[in-house]
């Protein structure tokens, strides 16, 4: 069982992995700060948050890049460096796999030409009901839910 103090420290490591200012700590530096042996830290982080610390950090940087590409209009190379990737190739391929568009295609699609944005456009901030509203009703809502009731419940009035 995870002790509450260990849980608290693991939560802190997420913040450290997302740190945006140089010098950005390495995964082993983050483990050291949390007082957890690096090997154990990687296994524990993955079991709790579903990703290795390294991948978690990369994905957090991609999320940050999505925003910077739209809001600041900086070049793909500048954004790649700004979020902490050292290789444009690995940045672009991870971005494309994760987002489904290359960084430049993403920027072209969502940044209005010559326009200025202060924040991510609302259509890129999903909510549960907004998602539901965006799909055809006949797919989202079963036509006759009563038909799907199991036989043992059929006698109970709806």
């Amino acid at each position: 069982m995870l002790h509450p103090e260990l849980l608290r420290r693991l939560c802190q490591t997420r913040d450290w992995l997302r740190e945006d200012a140089e010098p950005r700590p390495s995964v082993s530096e983050v483990a050291r700060r949390a007082g957890i042996a690096p090997h154990h830290f990687i296994r524990l982080f993955r079991a709790v948050f579903g990703e290795t610390p390294h991948r978690y950090r990369s994905l957090a940087r991609i999320e940050r890049a999505k925003e910077l590409l739209i809001v600041t209009g900086q070049s793909v190379t500048d954004v790649c460096m700004a979020v902490g990737f050292s290789s444009l190739g690995s940045f672009s391929s991870l971005f494309t796999r994760r987002v489904g568009l290359s960084p430049s295609a993403w920027q072209r699609k969502h940044r209005p030409a010559g326009g200025r944005l202060r924040a991510m456009p609302p259509e890129l901030i999903p909510g549960c009901l907004k998602l539901r509203a965006s799909i055809p009703a006949k797919k989202a809502i079963p036509k006759k839910p009563a038909e799907r009731r199991p036989a043992e419940l059929a006698a109970i009035p709806t």
Binding site: L7, G127, P145
Partner: protein, 130 residues
């Protein structure tokens, strides 16, 4: 007015679908592309087939901040009922699920809490009636 749909925010919809079906044992009900994301709902094979849980992306920064704050405080985001909490806890631990609270009797229930690998703590409870 009926309660038929609830949602839980998840870090990664694809991984969440895998965890909630393969590890927890829910069944996929709907999986429909919705722009960048997907409308994914689950049902419980042991529960009512019309009650669904949506796996909602946590891409909204405010939602994510709320989710992380709850997690940090050790507060579960959702609770699911089980018939045998000891057996469930044993089964989930064997699948490398990390618990923040082992099964413990509290009033008329036995409770346990685990991390769902998607950014949430989930409580399971077994009514004991004692």
């Amino acid at each position: 007015m009926k309660i038929k749909l609830n949602s839980i925010m998840v870090e990664n919809q694809e991984k969440a679908l895998d965890f909630y079906t393969r590890v927890l044992g829910f069944k996929k009900s709907k999986d429909i592309p919705a722009g960048e994301f997907r409308w994914i709902t689950l049902v419980s094979p042991e529960g009512h087939p019309d009650v669904e849980l949506a796996l909602e992306p946590n891409a909204n920064p405010d939602g994510k901040a709320f989710q992380e704050a709850m997690f940090k405080q050790g507060i579960p985001f959702a609770a699911f009922e089980v018939d045998d909490i000891e057996a469930e806890a044993k089964r989930l631990k064997a699948a490398s699920v990390k618990f923040t609270m082992d099964p413990e009797s509290m009033g008329s229930e036995k409770l346990a809490v685990f991390a769902d690998t998607c950014g949430n703590l989930i409580q399971i409870y077994q009514p004991t009636g004692k």
